[in-house]
């Protein structure tokens, strides 16, 4: 099963609060597996948030972000119905994305 991902965007006044959940192990490279061997570092490096196709937030993150990352962002001047698109790219080149509309 692909890593699940979910976003929600709600308007408070003219600021949209965007919350995104990403299924990802965010391995630090310091943990050992059941075989005693270290588990390779595996983590999301880039997070991009777009509203109506325009990039509003670019995040570069490390393995220090917790497993199954959850982020909240805020965008001013957004309107109900605006399209929010969030994507990530990890250090192994895998990507995922999700979309939602501002409610």
């Amino acid at each position: 099963m692909a890593d699940p991902m979910k976003a929600r965007a709600t308007l408070k006044g003219d600021v949209a609060e965007i919350r995104v959940l990403m299924g990802h192990p965010m391995e630090t490279g310091q943990r050992k597996g059941s075989d005693g061997k270290p588990i390779a570092r595996h983590f999301i490096q880039n997070v991009t948030v777009k509203v109506n196709g325009k990039t509003v937030v670019e995040g570069e993150i490390s393995q220090a972000v917790s497993r199954n990352p959850v982020f909240s962002f805020r965008v001013k001047g957004a309107k109900s119905g605006d399209k929010v698109e969030i994507s990530w790219l990890d250090n192994k080149g895998a990507t995922n994305k999700t979309e939602t509309a501002i409610a």
Binding site: M1, P4, K6, L21, M22, G23, N68, P69, V70, S72
Partner: protein, 266 residues
């Protein structure tokens, strides 16, 4: 924090009585609140939905017609009314016991196959964990109201109550050894006095839950199993009367609280 009904009044009284512990307590409360707000728990509901609707087993059917007590396929509020008595099996079942029953009856899977991996881990959560998240999510906003009218439901509660206090296992522990006195901790973890409604209500209204210390989703059957592991007993059988009775006792003790899970725990 939500304070309501008699549990709330008691909670406030307790908070006042336990004044010296308040400074530390409030710090953990802030941590727990912030963790709950930033929880990835919904992801488990999302995957659970896929698994619920996925045809599986020799019968190649999904679990969508599983009867959780409110009729085949009814998910709304079903979890909040568990554990309860089921006539078709003439016994009390909690969420996981009933889901397992649906796997073996509806889907035609063997108990052996369906119970091969009930408790998952962060790298690979189990099917049961995902399904529990999905089903429980449909009870948000419903008051916790486990079955209590049938004779077997009453017997289950009574058995659970006795089991809660029974000293057993290599180290002579009962549930009450850790969860029987106000204001106690194991290390820095505060221990809820689970036979009292004011402690049971907020807890039972938030299981099953994403557990930070496991970095994954955990269920009530697991929670009870894991307590017995640390009590140094043998292992309770999944879905057995003992585990269901303890779950019934805890749920009845915490009843009336509005379900707001699946929650997030430390």
């Amino acid at each position: 924090m939500r304070i309501s009904g008699c549990g709330g009044a008691l909670l406030m009284a307790l908070a006042l009585a336990a004044a010296p512990a308040v400074a530390q307590q409030s710090q953990f409360e802030k941590y727990q609140k912030m963790v709950a707000e930033g929880s990835p728990v919904e992801l488990f509901e999302l995957v659970g939905e896929d698994l619920w609707k996925k045809p599986q087993g020799p019968n190649k059917v999904s679990l969508e017609n599983c009867d959780l007590g409110q009729g085949p396929g009814v998910l709304q509020g079903a979890y909040a009314r568990l554990p309860r008595y089921f006539q078709d099996v003439d016994r009390v079942m909690d969420l996981e016991t009933r889901v397992l029953h649906c796997m073996t009856t509806l889907q035609g899977r063997s108990r052996e196959e369906a119970t091969k991996r009930l408790f998952g881990n962060a790298d690979k959560p189990s099917e049961m964990e995902y399904l529990s998240a999905y089903v429980a999510g449909h009870s948000r906003g419903h008051p916790m109201a486990p079955g209590q009218s049938n004779a077997k439901e009453k017997a289950s509660y009574e058995l659970g109550k006795k089991l809660f206090f029974v000293r057993t296992g290599l180290w002579d522990f009962s549930c009450a050894s850790c969860h029987g006195e106000e204001g106690k901790r194991i290390r820095m973890s505060e221990l809820p006095v689970l036979y009292k409604p004011e402690a049971a209500r907020p807890l039972m209204a938030t299981w099953p839950a994403y557990r930070v210390s496991n970095s994954t989703f955990k269920t009530m059957q697991w929670r009870i199993n894991n307590c017995f592991r640390q009590m140094r007993t043998p292992e309770p059988v999944f879905g057995s009367e003992v585990v269901n009775a303890l779950n019934m006792f805890l749920t009845v003790t915490g009843q009336g609280e509005t379900y707001r899970g699946p929650g997030t725990k430390r």
